[in-house]
Symmetry: C2
Subunit: 346 residues, 2 copies
DNA sequence: ACGGAAAATGAAAACGTGTTCATTCTTTGA
DNA sequence: TCAAAGAATGAACACGTTTTCATTTTCCGT
């Protein structure tokens, strides 16, 4: 009752709202938490006054007592990689709709995990963590996260998805690459391709090795000779250089699989602008991801598509289900792939 | 002394560390805060035991009492826009080095500001906020941030930067576009370009209108007719369509300025793959930003460069200076632009 | 009108830390 | 050797919320 001027310096607190509404401070807390019993008209009054005073519950205080920070940590080596940035974008939107905020952390770009970063991140107390970093065992991650449960994006090797084993130990999203790769190889073979090269991603990355093995397996099944491996690291520049090597030092190829779309762009530019080859007449090219840039006219890339929206939905489902039931057995989601046919095979 | 097994469920607390080290809880707090008086050997002991117990101070609790969340909010319409993603990447790295974490929020893509989002974000108590959203008055932003001070990226209109006026009201980064645009126009004019078109960014955006006005001013100063405006929205697809309109419905042009690099890619692809024109022989093209993709062989774009690293350093400087002295008068930083010459003008 | 169940309410405790303040220990200078 | 200054220390408080628990009020069926 002391200060009638609406302007109070600093942030409004539940106490102020309570005082103004002639209710207890607890009632204010209840007004902001849906599943509590509070007379509707009282709740309305409180919410109205809260809006007047520009009050929102302090999430730090809330986190302290409820054990929920409503923060989701995202660890990523390169925010500006095309696929990553598109996934972060969709993920942030989806999480925001569920009342969570995205906490971004950058780690070394060699796809290894930094224990110092993990300890640092843990200080912020995320409810959950999504790691784009590969080759980090979930158990390592878990050691640094008390309440948070890490979510693992898993790329099964050929055959691995078939045997159910004892079930996974950690929540994970299984990305099944076989379908898309089979379609791509069938298409290439249909156009008469025989010598297929693979411009790889970063050698140590699980996504890459699983991709390469799956390609090798599928090609063997269809009676094709094993692919020539051109080592690269997912980047445009390395893929560009690897393609030059493949044709100038190596034996060349009549079709090239790139480990990701950006790499495929490098392959295309090297073929067309440096080697003077035509795509798809002389060499056919297939990418991985189907990022937004792949339909651009200069590339118009045929590629194995991961459905981004579907993937994000699956991740968010995993997070929410785990948070609702921390003691549940390991959860699992599955994501399929398929070929998107554009102009670089034909 | 009760539990000798190192495994205690849940998170370690300062109390546990204190007990194990035979010191008071306050000492533990001091061990983690550099500028407090604590016997060195005691500090070492505490830090060692903390590491053993995997202890880190809880930032939520710390924020509650110290008023510093060590969170920096970043509001962005599109994480996956090329420039934005590259800036977020660099910003996250720089902030991380200073002990801050990046809190990502996505707003509507029409570059307007959503009050509900602001209220939502405020709940997380960021120490500072960087808004990529344009056309939001800093005062509006400030109303929703108690402790946090918004940082405004400002694109002065022609002449505006010259008069010092009474100084700015809010912390801001001034991006001076004149130098780069002057170099670009001079180069185009040197190659004989007369009819210059501008494929715009999103009409309402301040960056875009300032860019357009600056181009108009510079061209007038050099005796060129005013540019033809082809309305677009920073996207590849719209720039592509706008270019087709320009040549099929409009009068065409012998040089095109695109409001950003991605737009310039759309322009290039439309010219080459749909209109059958050669670049730079028939039409010259200049972009804005100098994103990483601009040196790719398919585009090899001549463009006005904003120095990303410099820009991020300036932003971080602004944040830290403001946090160190909340009462300081409005701070200001300045960023220059310059032309990067590649293959689309010549 | 009555008893019992359900809903509504507020006081007090809890969350894990930084900060203030008074006290104790150590060092310094003459 | 002594006083004074400075460093080191811990008890108590503060931060803003949710949760627990006991109490009061309201509602319902008989």
């Amino acid at each position: 009752m002391s200060d009638e001027s609406g302007i109070t310096r600093g942030r409004a607190t539940a106490e102020m709202v309570a005082q103004r509404a002639n209710v207890s401070r607890v009632a204010v807390s209840r007004a902001f938490n849906p599943h509590t019993s509070l007379k509707p008209e009282k709740r309305d009054l409180i919410l109205r006054i809260a809006q007047e005073l520009n009050y929102t519950p302090d999430r730090a205080a809330r986190a302290l007592v409820s054990g929920r920070s409503h923060l989701v940590g995202v660890i990523v080596p390169d925010v500006c990689s095309h696929w990553e940035s598109q996934e972060i974008d969709a993920l942030t939107t989806a999480l925001q709709n569920e009342g969570f905020a995205t906490l971004l952390f950058k780690t070394r770009t060699d796809y290894s995990m930094d224990e110092k970063l993990l300890a640092y991140m843990r200080g912020f107390n995320p409810d959950s963590v999504i790691a784009f970093v590969e080759n980090v065992k979930p158990t390592t991650l878990a050691r640094f996260l008390d309440r948070a449960v890490p979510i693992y994006v898993h790329y099964p090797y050929p055959g691995e998805a078939d045997d159910e084993e004892a079930g996974p130990l950690h929540d994970r999203l299984n990305v099944l690459q076989r379908a898309g790769i089979e379609q791509a190889v069938a298409l290439l073979q249909g156009y008469g391709a025989q010598r297929i090269a693979y411009v790889s991603g970063l050698g140590k990355s699980r996504a890459n090795t699983a991709r390469e093995q799956m390609l090798r397996t599928v090609m063997a099944e269809r009676g094709l000779p094993p692919p020539v491996i051109a080592p690269s690291d997912y980047s445009y520049d390395m893929a560009y250089a690897a393609t030059l090597d493949l044709f100038r030092i190596g034996q060349g190829a009549d079709a090239i699989f790139a480990a990701n779309d950006v790499g495929a762009f490098g392959v295309l530019d090297a073929l067309r602008h440096e080697l003077g080859l035509r795509v798809p007449e002389d060499v056919k090219v297939v990418g991985f991801d189907d990022i937004a840039q792949s339909h651009w006219k200069s590339y118009n890339l045929t590629t194995v598509k991961f459905d981004l929206a579907e993937r994000v939905r699956a991740l968010v489902r995993l997070i929410l289900r785990r948070l609702n039931n921390p003691a549940a057995p390991a959860l699992q989601e599955t994501l399929q792939t398929r070929l998107v046919v554009r102009g670089t095979v034909g």
